[in-house]
């Protein structure tokens, strides 16, 4: 049983009245991150790491978005010469890879890392140093990968790196090596975040936050993290096998030597399809969060929503073959995956109608996050419906690898993930910067993005039916695809302008935004029960939770129970039981340390070396081992001094 006890505190103020000013200062000192440039490399607090993840991922979003514009400019006219074939293939490969691996997953992870501990009332995550390690791995891996484009060394085999095109025979040079090593490496970062989030959610929830009181967003993150845990190993295995094929002439994927090109596709899509839902599931959680706050209502169908999220997570592992309908697999097997693929419509439908039921007759605050959610509804449902269409084997055999698919997945990924992500970022921006965004600019951004998006991507459905295949760097004038491509390109420019408005909004607000206060939206979850930006310790005294929306509960009941007895001089957070969140023990968390950064540096050097020589693996293995030794050297954090 814990030393800490659950106390009953009173007071309307969100900052506990029970804590004296000098105690508060001491707590904040224990949780402080060292200042200065060198200090930056030692930070481990989740809010710092989460913010870095989000910021870095949006930088990659911007860069990969610019590549998308280049693609659109090249395709605006038949036989255009903006990019040559080789550059186009590199730009296309990096656009896809960066959007998936460097933007979408890290952005979702970043928001989860920044928000989830606050939402569950914890003071930090379970493994803060691992968290920092994951970030540096991502930063270094992502930068090396993207940087390869500027050196003209980028891979050109597509984000899916199908063998044999990506094998040693047809892709000599360093491009695909950079892809395999850096993707493997970045996935390590995804795995660390997943482990971290799972343990934090299951064990560090504030006392009283039983599983059925967990915010839907936290459920979504939990499911996402488990999906990462099961999906990422497949792509790590796949890219490691490809790395070995290229580096030491193993023949896993070489048909003439008894290997199998289809093996790659199975492994890649066993990861690749859940990947889409890894991005989608937390986004759906954000939608629920925003709807609850802006209707000031409990969500309708909490249990149904949780089941739907878990259901999406499970079903998503049984669909990968729908990326392989045209590979000549037996029809019987494909029929099974056809039924399974369309089954995803059930949990998606349940969520959509739970949201509609929540919104039914509500007085809705139509602020920018809510507008992003409305844009999400229109685009995501359209994308989901074309998704059901392409689940049909015969229809998919026509539109597979055509622009119809490009349209479909941009509807799902932009509408289903990026719009909610924008909603989430707009929603939580005040919490993390302490400043409000401009509503007016926010509205303009939503409207412009929505219009630009549809103009850019709707025509692609038609282009696909007109026989335009994906991944082509040019087309002949007599194909008759020119007009719609021109429309699409102009739409993409409008889309970019819409995002530029949001970028300007952020910059302007950081410079002179109005102060946000603790809870600008009047929301009910715990992240709004601390200062904006959050205190170093998140909660000087950890809250005790009695319902699904603790802040609303406190306002209603007029009292606010808290946890007492945690140390003020070292980093402590409550550990609670898995189901009911009863207090169990106290976790002492490590403070600032440079070792995760050093380990990440060593690990990335060895991965980078792998591009050039297999011996880098041997050297890197031992070097990384030494750095981990220094990292984990016992330092007695429990010593009373």
């Amino acid at each position: 049983m814990s030393r800490a006890a659950v106390l009953e505190g009173t007071g309307e103020a969100l900052h506990p009245a029970g804590t004296r000013a000098d105690e508060l200062a001491a707590i904040e000192r224990s949780w402080a991150s060292p200042p200065g440039f060198l200090g930056w490399f030692t930070h481990v607090n989740h809010s710092n790491i989460g913010r870095r993840f989000v910021l870095t991922s949006f930088v990659f979003f911007l860069l990969a978005g610019i590549l998308g514009l280049l693609i659109r400019l090249q395709l605006a006219l038949p036989l255009a010469e903006v990019l040559d074939a080789e550059s186009y293939n590199q730009v296309m490969t990096v656009h896809g890879t960066a959007m998936m691996f460097l933007f979408a997953i890290p952005a979702m992870e970043g928001i989860a890392i920044a928000i989830v501990p606050l939402m569950v009332g914890a003071r930090d995550m379970a493994f803060p140093r691992l968290n920092a390690f994951g970030y540096y791995v991502y930063l270094i891996g992502g930068s090396v990968f993207f940087g390869s484009l500027f050196l003209g060394l980028a891979p050109g085999a597509g984000w899916f790196s199908y063998v044999p095109l990506a094998g040693p025979r047809f892709a000599p040079g360093y491009g695909v090596d950079i892809w395999t090593t850096m993707i493997t490496f970045i996935e390590v970062s995804a795995l660390t975040a997943a482990v971290e989030l799972i343990v934090t959610i299951l064990k560090l929830r504030a006392p009283g936050m039983s599983l059925d009181r967990m915010p839907i967003f936290v459920w979504a993150v939990l499911v996402m993290a488990f999906m990462i845990l099961f999906a990422m190993p497949a792509v790590i295995v796949a890219s490691s096998l490809l790395m070995m094929d290229r580096l030491i002439d193993t023949q896993f994927f070489v048909a003439e030597a008894g290997g199998s090109p289809l093996l790659w596709q199975h492994l890649f899509w066993f990861f690749g399809h859940p990947e889409v839902y890894i991005i989608l599931v937390p986004a759906l959680g954000m939608v629920t969060t925003v709807i609850v706050t802006f209707t000031r209502r409990e969500v309708v169908g909490y249990n149904a929503l949780v089941l739907a999220i878990v259901g999406i997570g499970m079903i998503s592992f049984g669909l990968w073959v729908h990326h392989m309908y045209t590979t000549g697999l037996p029809f019987m097997g494909r029929s099974f995956f056809m039924a399974a693929s369309s089954m995803i419509a059930i949990p998606s439908g349940v969520q959509v109608f739970c949201w509609i039921a929540t919104l039914w007759g509500a007085r809705i605050r139509m602020a920018a996050p809510m507008l992003w959610v409305l844009a999400f509804f229109a685009v995501f449902i359209a994308g989901g419906l074309t998704g059901v269409m392409v689940a049909s084997v015969p229809f998919d055999r026509q539109v597979h690898d055509s622009y119809f698919i490009v349209a479909h997945f941009h509807y799902v990924l932009m509408g289903g993930a990026v719009f909610p992500l924008m909603a989430g970022v707009t929603y939580w921006f005040p919490k993390f910067t302490g400043r409000l965004l401009s509503e007016r600019l926010g509205r303009w951004s939503v409207a412009t993005v929505f219009a630009g998006f549809n103009l850019a991507f709707f025509p692609m459905h038609i282009l696909g039916l007109q026989g335009m295949p994906r991944r082509i760097y040019t087309y002949l004038p007599e194909m008759g695809w020119g007009d719609l491509n021109l429309v699409s390109t102009s739409g993409s420019l409008l889309l970019a302008a819409g995002f530029a408005i949001s970028l300007w909004n952020v910059a302007r607000s950081l410079a002179r935004g109005a102060p946000a206060g603790d809870d600008p939206w009047g929301a009910g979850t715990l992240e709004w029960a601390t200062a904006s930006p959050p205190l170093n310790s998140n909660f000087p005294e950890q809250p005790v939770v009695l319902g699904r929306n603790p802040v609303w509960d406190w306002a209603r009941s007029g009292h606010r129970p808290i946890v007492g007895g945690l140390s003020i001089t070292r980093r402590e957070t409550m550990v609670t039981t898995l189901l009911d969140a009863r207090p169990q023990s106290v976790q002492v968390l490590p403070g600032p340390t440079p070792w995760p950064f050093v380990s990440a540096l060593v690990a990335s050097a060895s991965f980078f070396g792998l591009i050039f020589t297999p011996w880098a693996f041997v050297a890197g293995f031992f070097a990384a081992f030494l750095s981990f030794l220094a990292w984990f050297w016992p330092r007695k954090p429990w010593r009373e001094d």
């Binding site: 044999p164 048909a255 039914w360 269409m389 690898d401 007109q466 760097y473 008759g480």
Partner: protein, 344 residues
């Protein structure tokens, strides 16, 4: 599409014969295609398989549009209900009805319809039916080789980039690749099937009537994926038989200055002109080149000018193409072009 010489024999939408609604859909589909003649289009189907899939696609499109409108309509109602009135949440019962009917029952109905139609149509479009002819289609970087086989699997004739099929008959296409993965896609006739090293995939093509269509590689296969096109010609059986007999025969020119230029420029190392010393197998068989409508994998018209440009400026037309550009002197080039134009 502006190419007058290659207009399709099938008018758009003609494929949809039964049912008023289907015809309406087809017209709508053709409208969507924006006046394109549809030589490479899913909805301008020219085979029973293509028709079935196009009709399935249009039905699914109409259903999807309906569901989208209804769902967004419900959303709009939900959003506007509180306007000028007191905010009142939906009753528990109302919520259950809404979530179960919208989120469970309608998707289940859609899944059942989709699975049944998918299995039924998939069975038909991928079924062998009755075939008389087998063609082995080999995907190369970045062109197509067609090997016509007799009933015992023996080779009758070899050609490239222009696939001739008997109209009104189902033909078995065996799809192979000895390099990267490609995908054979002629949208008017049939869905695509990948060509994967180490595998022999099968596809059936059954053009309903004589016509000419274009297809294109649909799996990313490297630098010239974009321009890896294929011409497909359907002819009545007698015309097809005559064509096949001609393809089986040797080249019409077996000597002369053109052939000398062909050999001295090294063309014969990769290209075959059957009946001459040119026996290369790495490039398209050119024995009857002049009979084809287009060159460079359905990218350029088969005209003297285009041939000359392709031979001397190959990589401006197709960067990364494996054929080296040649630099014959004007005399040689002219002889060479004379030869190529004579290879009926």
């Amino acid at each position: 599409m502006g190419n007058v010489t290659l207009s399709p024999a099938t008018p758009k939408g003609a494929a949809f014969s039964d049912g008023k609604f289907a015809r309406g859909l087809a017209a709508a589909g053709a409208g969507l295609l924006g006046g394109c003649e549809g030589r490479q289009a899913v909805l301008a189907a020219a085979s029973p398989d293509g028709e079935m899939i196009a009709r399935l696609g249009l039905w699914m499109f109409v259903s999807a549009a309906f569901i989208l409108v209804v769902t967004l309509g419900l959303l709009a109602v939900a959003l506007t209900l509180a306007r000028g009135r007191e905010a009142r949440p939906l009753s528990r019962r109302g919520s259950c009805v809404l979530v179960i009917s919208g989120g469970v029952l309608s998707p289940v109905a859609a899944i059942v319809a989709l699975s049944i139609s998918g299995v039924a149509i998939g069975d038909q479009t991928e079924g062998a039916g009755e075939t008389r002819l087998t063609v082995e289609v080999q995907a190369k970087r970045w062109w197509w080789a067609f090997h016509y086989l007799d009933a015992d699997g023996r080779e009758i004739a070899v050609t490239a980039n222009e696939l001739h099929l008997p109209a009104g008959e189902r033909t078995r296409l065996i799809l192979t690749s000895d390099n990267v993965i490609h995908s054979f896609w002629v949208p008017n006739l049939q869905g695509k099937t990948d060509m994967i090293p180490g595998q022999r995939n099968v596809l059936f093509a059954e053009p309903s009537a004589p016509g000419r269509w274009r297809g294109q590689c649909a799996e990313f296969c490297g630098l010239q994926h974009a321009l890896m096109g294929v011409e497909v010609v359907a002819e009545p059986r007698p015309a097809f038989d005559r064509w096949l007999a001609r393809q089986a025969g040797p080249a019409r020119v077996t000597e002369g200055p053109g052939l000398a230029a062909f050999m001295s420029q090294g063309c014969g190392e990769c290209h075959a002109l059957r009946g001459t010393p040119a026996r290369g197998r790495d490039g398209p068989d050119l024995t009857h080149l002049a009979g084809r409508a287009r060159i460079a994998a359905a990218t350029l018209p088969n005209s003297r000018g285009a041939l000359g440009g392709w031979i001397t400026d190959t990589h401006r037309v197709k960067p990364g193409a494996l054929m080296p550009a040649s630099t014959p002197d004007p005399r040689e080039l002219s002889d060479l072009l004379d030869l190529l134009e004579a290879l009926e």
